[in-house]
């Protein structure tokens, strides 16, 4: 069991994940640079984010090599946050629609451009 004597793994896997993280970061930056918009932007940004977070946790933080008791302690409690995100998204949308409906706000106003 590796965790008993410390997490020792070949260097190669760290170097590969390192390069992969660079590539994934470059991809996410390219999404912005190439002005990808709409649902495709969301899909790509969230996909690259999830892959990066997954590889950092699994390999750099060694979660994939830990015993399940520890891995579930790490991953279990935060998973409840998905419920919080869902509830707050519902609440936020409700607040916005109330502002549009009762206060006459314009939800489609464009932000001012930035002059450098």
């Amino acid at each position: 069991m590796s965790s008993a004597s410390g997490q020792q793994h070949p260097l190669g896997i760290y170097l590969k994940v390192w390069i992969l993280l660079f590539v994934l970061s470059l991809f996410s930056y390219m999404v912005d640079y190439l002005h990808v918009q709409g649902p495709l932007r969301w899909t790509l940004v969230l996909l690259f984010m999830a892959l990066k977070a997954g590889f950092i946790m699994a390999i750099f933080m060694h979660v994939v090599w830990e015993r399940m008791a520890l891995a579930l302690t790490i991953l279990g409690p935060p998973s409840i946050l998905l419920l919080l995100i869902l509830l707050m998204a519902i609440e936020g949308n409700y607040t916005e629609s109330a502002r549009v409906q009762y206060l006459g706000h314009d939800p489609f106003a464009a932000p001012a451009h930035v002059s450098h």
Binding site: M1, M57, F60, G92, H116
Partner: protein, 228 residues
Amino acid sequence: MSHSSTMDEAELSQEGLNGLVKDWSTDKQTYHVPWGKAMMWIFLVSDTFIFSCFLVGYMTVRVSTTDPWPLATEVFALSFFGSDPIPLILIALMTFVLITSSGTMALAVNYGYRRDRKKTVLLMIATAALGATFVGMQAFEWSKLIGYGVRPWGNPWGAPQFGSVFYMVTGFHGLHVSAGVIYLLVVARKVWRGDYEKKGYEIVEITGLYWHFVDLVWVFIFAFFYLL
């Protein structure tokens, strides 16, 4: 480490779900890792909740406001030597600096377990230097935004919440990076002195866990605040 001698080999040979049940039904110890590592993980889980509160709060104000959200790609653009502004370039560079530091940290952990003290110390110092670079770039970014007139209560382009979220989230993350730099230097110094020759180099892995966590949080901030 006394725990490894008291561990039942047959117990540890069970992996997966059976191992989970075995670990939780033992009399003495559930997590078969050094206690410092278990404590660091529990701290990181609690820190996850703090950062999640900020990010969920950010989502809620951004969804509920009817004011237009400022365009991050333009706000964080930067021009070099009079070129046209390159969108989001500073943030991209900060991301690369932090990922590089995560790589050097992972290697430091590896060399620590190989008991190569010199390489471990050098890689930890490199990690700390990259972290300090990141904080420096963040200070530059803050001063630019302050110069544009971005305040926690307003900005020239749209929803005032943009400023509150920006300073709160990046400030709290920057504080974590700064603390990490100090932590790394303290541990690097003790590794250099040979303080861990007897007890082993788990401490480098524990420090690494904190550092990778800081990088992990940045992955989410980068995606949600700067890209979406």
